[in-house]
């Protein structure tokens, strides 16, 4: 059987900042239906003294995102009107994501009460504070969600690079929205792009702020993302995967922050198959 379903391929990596003992970034992805659909996420635990469990919080964020994305995808029956899918993406998804994250945090807090080193802090989700950026491509939809800083970057088939969820205010100072913020679901920014109205990207990249801050300008970061895509096309994904760790470590040395990148790009069309999770 022939099909024109695009196959998505994913790569990712992370580098710990040299001055830090623990990398508080986390990332992961899920590939559905042999690459026809994907979900991917990066999270950046806040790391400072007020958030001593933010590395766990970042892991819970990525896990909660992938769980919520899988549920979202499973409920996408063909007869659901596009307007209702938009409601699900913009309202239900952020709510369910935050709820899932808090569930995981609550379970962890119950198992692991405050330690001696955490005296003076309250046993609340604030201990686990983290940002999150996630993306999902399913059927004719390209979706993105972001709370806090970091970057979601799209490279179009024409080579144009855009960052549709970028909030310049997030780049000012160190304050950022967080999954532990009051009313966090309202702080989630959503990117919604149904095709054919909006062309799907050739590559979608998620990264923690340690990467974009390692560049002198945001344009420099965008050129880097564009370059990653060009190298995937002209060299190979395997070569880029090999080089990625070195790039991230170099970026981390410039920004002084943990640095993480996950990127997905359109490969060759395939027949839809059983769900897989190549890692």
């Amino acid at each position: 059987m022939s099909t024109d379903i695009a196959r998505w391929q994913v790569l990712g990596g992370t580098a710990r900042a040299a001055r830090k003992s623990v990398n508080q970034d986390r990332h992961d992805w899920t590939v559905f239906a042999d690459g026809a659909d994907i979900a991917m996420a990066v999270a950046d635990g806040h790391g400072s003294a007020a958030y001593p469990r933010s590395d766990a919080g970042a892991q819970f964020a990525v896990d909660a995102f992938l769980y919520t994305a899988a549920e979202f995808r499973a409920a996408l029956e063909p007869d659901v009107p596009l307007a209702q899918v938009k409601v699900r993406a913009e309202e239900y998804f952020p709510r369910n994501l935050v709820h899932e994250w808090r569930e995981r945090v609550g379970t962890d807090l119950a198992k692991n009460p405050l330690r001696e080193a955490e005296q003076g802090l309250e046993a609340t989700p604030v201990l686990y504070g983290t940002t999150l950026i996630g993306a999902m491509i399913t059927g004719t939809l390209v979706l993105g969600w972001q709370i806090g800083d970091g970057d979601l970057c799209l490279v179009g088939a024409d080579g144009q690079v855009s960052a549709p969820l970028r909030n310049p205010a997030e780049t000012l100072g160190d304050e950022t929205d967080s999954l532990c913020s009051d009313g966090a679901q309202h702080l989630v920014r959503t990117y919604w792009a149904p095709s054919p109205a909006i062309d799907p990207p050739a590559l979608i990249a998620l990264s923690t702020d340690g990467l974009s801050k390692s560049f002198v300008s945001f344009e420099g970061y965008q050129e880097f993302v564009s370059g990653v895509y060009q190298r995937i096309i002209h060299d190979s994904a395997g070569k880029v995967s090999e080089d990625l760790q070195g790039w991230l470590e170099q970026a981390s040395s410039y920004s002084g922050d943990d640095t993480t990148l996950v990127a997905a790009w359109q490969g060759s069309p395939v027949n839809p198959g059983p769900e897989g999770r190549p890692r």
Binding site: L82, N96, P194
Partner: protein, 447 residues
């Protein structure tokens, strides 16, 4: 450029005028919005997705265009545009107007006075629409824009509005829909009556930054989806502050915002919200009308006072000001002198805090003003400092007519246009046909 229409596409209105597509603005649930040129002016074009471009929708748009509803608070359909599909022209939203989601995400700062002003403008806008016999049918956070600097509002996406009682496709956005519509009760259809429920929800969200029906019952749901919405908003809606049912209270640590904002809200508004989301849920005839909202919101706006310690604005009621503390710093609020204005016919009394810069507006002098106007040129009086004596405040006559005043000692005075009278307790004024008295709500030794 991306979207259904390419840049440079030429379309025509139903009357044959040319429309040129210049830029893609965004995509929504029913269609896309483009920037276009029309009659040498920049306008917005909503272009429907094929699935939404029904004959019924086209008939609704044609009807709305024919109405020529010129209210400046609405981005009303100006002309039907046809091509391979159809859409309609409207004015472009000015850049100083923000969407309500930005307010709910706390990405736009707005002071209490401008927020309450926006609420007043909103209820008056829907009152104007309803008075035309038109139901909006889809009042929601996505259809209202506001100017944080002034509280001015704009209502867009008016293409679902129809004559009250007419059956048509859209029922609204679930979390704003009246419960009987969600339950699909026999005979229930979108109407001005169901708009009143949606309006109450929207006002609650603007003032409390939270949905009135989302509390502990929502918190217990792991995966929120359509069935959960139908349950919480339709089949078994319970107000989070229902005085007779406490099983849906906000959850501390999860719903902290609404716990704080409800506490900071004056009793008069809390009473209206309680009515809207208890009796009003099941008895449409008991829903709060636009004029009730307008009068309560206007009274609260007149009594917004700044904390003397931290400077944050506080909404108060005249009757409870002596017991209120600042929502931000907890400092007891210091009640300022007030002017009590009573209209002539019928007599209606309003109380306005006389804080520096406060204004008495022309709508204060009218019992049922068609519209509240808070522009500087709509002010009848302003509280201004004495030009030479710091700390002394006077009430300056901004009207074209002289006022007459009687002081507590029995002496009288005339205050010509442009002149002021010192704010002293007990002064009685004639402001045109309205009468006024300056007084203190709390004796000085208790303030």
């Amino acid at each position: 450029m991306t979207g259904m229409l390419a840049g440079g596409t030429r379309l025509t209105t139903s009357s044959g005028e040319e429309v040129n597509v210049t830029a893609f603005i965004g995509a929504g649930g029913q269609g896309e919005v483009y920037q276009v040129t029309y009659r040498n002016a920049i306008r917005a074009l909503k272009w429907y997705y094929p699935a939404s471009a029904t004959d019924e929708q086209q008939a609704i748009v044609q009807d709305l265009v024919a109405r020529r509803f010129g209210d400046d608070r609405f981005l009303w359909p100006l002309a039907l545009v046809a091509g391979d599909g159809f859409g309609y022209l409207m004015k472009l939203r000015p850049p100083n107007f923000e969407g309500l989601p930005a307010l709910f995400r706390r990405k736009v700062r707005i002071k209490s006075r401008e927020l309450v002003t926006a609420c007043i403008h909103l209820v008056e806008a829907y009152r104007a629409l309803h008075s035309q016999g038109i139901a909006y049918r889809d009042i929601s956070e996505g259809n209202v824009f506001f100017d944080p600097a002034t509280g001015d509002i704009l209502v867009c996406d008016n293409d679902n509005a129809v004559v009250d009682g007419r059956q048509a496709g859209i029922k609204g956005t679930t979390k704003f829909m009246a419960p009987e519509l969600i339950r699909e009760d026999p005979g229930a259809s979108p109407s001005t009556q169901t708009d009143l429920h949606s309006l109450a929800v929207l006002l609650f969200m603007m003032l409390m930054n939270h949905h009135p029906l989302l509390g502990a019952r929502e918190y217990r749901i792991r995966l929120f989806e359509e069935n959960a919405e139908a349950l919480l908003y339709g089949r078994e809606p319970v107000f989070v502050f229902d005085p007779a049912n406490d099983n849906n209270r906000p959850v501390p640590g999860y719903h902290d915002t609404v716990l704080a904002t409800w506490d900071a809200t004056p009793g008069s508004l809390r009473a209206l919200f309680t009515g809207a989301f208890t009796d009003g849920l099941s008895k449409p005839g008991l829903r709060i009308r636009e004029t009730q909202w307008r009068d309560a919101l206007s009274a609260v706006r007149d009594m917004i006072i700044s904390c003397q310690r931290c400077g944050r604005q506080n909404m108060t009621d005249p009757g409870e000001i002596s017991s209120r503390v600042c929502w931000s710093c907890g400092n007891p609020l210091t009640p300022p002198p007030v002017i009590q204005v009573t209209t002539a016919n019928p007599p209606l009394t309003r109380v306005i805090a006389l804080t520096p810069g406060a204004r008495v507006f022309l709508h204060h002098l009218t019992p049922d003003p068609p519209r509240h106007d808070f522009a500087a040129d709509a002010a009848a009086a302003i509280v201004a400092g004495h030009p030479r004596v710091p700390g002394r405040l006077g009430l300056k006559n901004l009207t074209a007519e002289a006022w007459s005043a009687r002081r507590p000692d029995g002496s009288t005075a005339e205050i010509p246009p442009g002149r002021s009278i010192e704010i002293v307790e007990g002064i009685r004024l004639h402001l045109g046909a309205a009468k006024a008295v300056i007084r203190r709500l709390v004796p000085p030794d208790k303030s």
